[in-house]
C-alpha cells in the first residue's frame, strides 16, 4: 500500500499511528511525501488521486481512498486479525467506537483545528493569528472537554475500558496543542482527561510516530505544512 502524505501533518499522522498499532512495516505501507510547499497536492497527477487536493490519500491495489478517518477505518478492518484491536469486541463496542469517532470529528476537531490553524500554521507562514477566533474556539473546546472529563471519570477510554480507534483519532491534534502550540491547559487541568492522554500517548505506536512531528515543526518554513 502507498500512503501519499505530509510528514508530521495531523491527518497523515492519524493514518501512520493506526498502521503502527496494526504492526505494519514500511514494506506493507510505503509513505510517499507530498511536497505541499511546491503545491504538488493541487497538480493534475495528484488531483487524479484525490480530487479535493487534500492529503493524505491511500492506494491499495486498485483502490484509492482518501479522508484520514475513512483510511484508518479501512486499515482497522483490513488488519482486524493482527496488532491492536481497534473496534472493541462486540457490536455494541463498535457502535460506541463509531459514536466517539464522530464526536472527535464533529464536536472536538472543528474547534481544536481552528485553534491550531491560527497558533501553529498561520504563524508559521509569518502571519498574525486571529486572536478572537482562537479565544472563541478555545472556549468551545473547553466546554467539549468538560463532557470528556465527566465521561472519563467513569471509564478508562472513550468507548469503554478498551483502547480504540476513537481514542487514537485524538492523538495528533492533542499532541500538536500541547507540544507545538504549547497550550496544554485544557488537557492538563482536567485530571481524568490528563490520565487518559497519558495512557494513550505512552503507547509504543504513538511514541514511535510522534517524534516525526517535532522534527518537521522545528524546521524553518517557507510555506505551511498544514494538510
Amino acid at each position: 500500500m502507498k500512503l501519499y502524505g505530509v510528514p508530521g501533518s495531523i491527518c497523515t499522522t492519524r493514518v501512520l499511528v493506526t498502521a503502527a498499532e496494526k504492526g505494519l512495516d514500511k514494506t506493507q505501507l510505503q509513505h510517499i511525501p507530498v511536497d505541499i510547499s511546491a503545491g504538488d497536492q493541487k497538480k493534475p497527477q495528484y488531483l487524479a488521486i484525490q480530487p479535493f487536493g487534500q492529503v493524505p490519500a491511500l492506494q491499495d491495489g486498485d483502490l484509492t481512498l482518501f479522508e484520514s478517518r475513512a483510511v484508518i477505518r479501512y486499515l482497522a478492518d483490513k488488519y482486524e486479525g493482527q496488532g491492536t484491536p481497534l473496534y472493541g469486541s462486540s457490536n455494541r463496542d463498535r457502535a460506541l467506537v463509531e459514536q466517539w469517532l464522530e464526536v472527535e470529528s464533529h464536536n472536538f476537531n472543528p474547534h481544536i483545528s481552528i485553534v491550531l490553524n491560527e497558533l501553529v500554521f498561520t504563524m508559521s507562514r509569518g502571519e498574525d493569528p486571529d486572536t478572537k477566533l482562537v479565544t472563541t474556539h478555545y472556549e468551545r473546546l473547553d466546554r467539549v472537554l468538560d463532557v470528556y472529563e465527566a465521561h472519563l471519570s467513569r471509564q478508562k477510554y472513550l468507548a469503554g475500558d478498551f483502547f480504540s480507534l476513537a481514542d487514537l483519532s485524538h492523538l495528533p491534534t492533542i499532541f500538536y496543542l500541547i507540544r507545538v502550540a504549547k497550550k496544554p491547559n485544557v488537557i492538563f487541568r482536567r485530571p481524568h482527561v490528563l490520565t487518559w492522554w497519558q495512557l494513550i500517548s505512552n503507547r509504543p505506536a504513538w511514541k514511535a510516530i510522534a517524534p516525526s512531528i517535532m522534527t518537521v515543526t522545528k524546521q524553518p518554513k517557507t510555506a505551511s505544512t498544514s494538510a
Partner: protein, 210 residues
Amino acid sequence: MAIKIHGRQLSFYVRTAMLAMSEMNVESEIIEDDMHSPEYLAKVNPFGKHPAVEFDDFILYESRAILRYVVTNYGGLHLLGSTPKEKAMVDQWFEVQGCYFDPPVRSIVLELYFFPKFEGRVPDVAVVEENLSKFEKLLNIYDAQLAKTKYLAGDFYSMADLAHIPMLHRFVASSGKESLVTSRKHVNAWYETITSRPAWKKIVEQYPDV
C-alpha cells in the same frame, strides 16, 4: 416496540436517524424533548444535542454513528458495501458528506430558509455567497464522479448517498438555489433517484415541506 429518537423531525440530523429506520423498515417514534435540560444531559446525551436513539440496552448519539449502527444491525449491510474496496469507498464518501458537504450546505439552508422562516432574520449575503461558491466547487467534483458511477461509492446505493438526502432535499425544496443541483446532469439524476426512494418519500409525506 418503536425505537425512540430524541429530537425534532425538522432537523437534518434527526431525519438522518429517521431515514435509517425507514430504510430498514424499523418503526420509530420521535420524542421532542429539551436537549439542554439537566435530565437530558445526564441520561441521554451529555453533549446536549439531538438526535439520540434508545436501543435495547444502550443509548447512542451522533447521527452518523446512529446511521451506521442501524444499517449494520437491522439488515442493511448492503448499504455499507460488499467488498473491502466497496466499504472503503462508502466510508470515503460518507466522510466527504460530513466534512465537505455538510458545513457549507447547512450554512446556506440556515441563512436562506430556517433563519428567515423561523427567526425572522435577514440572510447574511456574504455568508451565503461564500458557501454557495464552496458548494458549486464540490458539486463539480460530485458531477464528475456521478458521470462514472450511478451512486457516489459505486453502482450501488449506500449509506454515503443516504446521508445526503435530508439536507439536499431541503436545499432543493426551500433555498431558492436549486439550480446548482438541477443544472448539473449527473448530480440531478442522482438527486432524483435517491429522493424517490420509498423510505424517504414516507418521511416527506408524514412531514410535508412547509
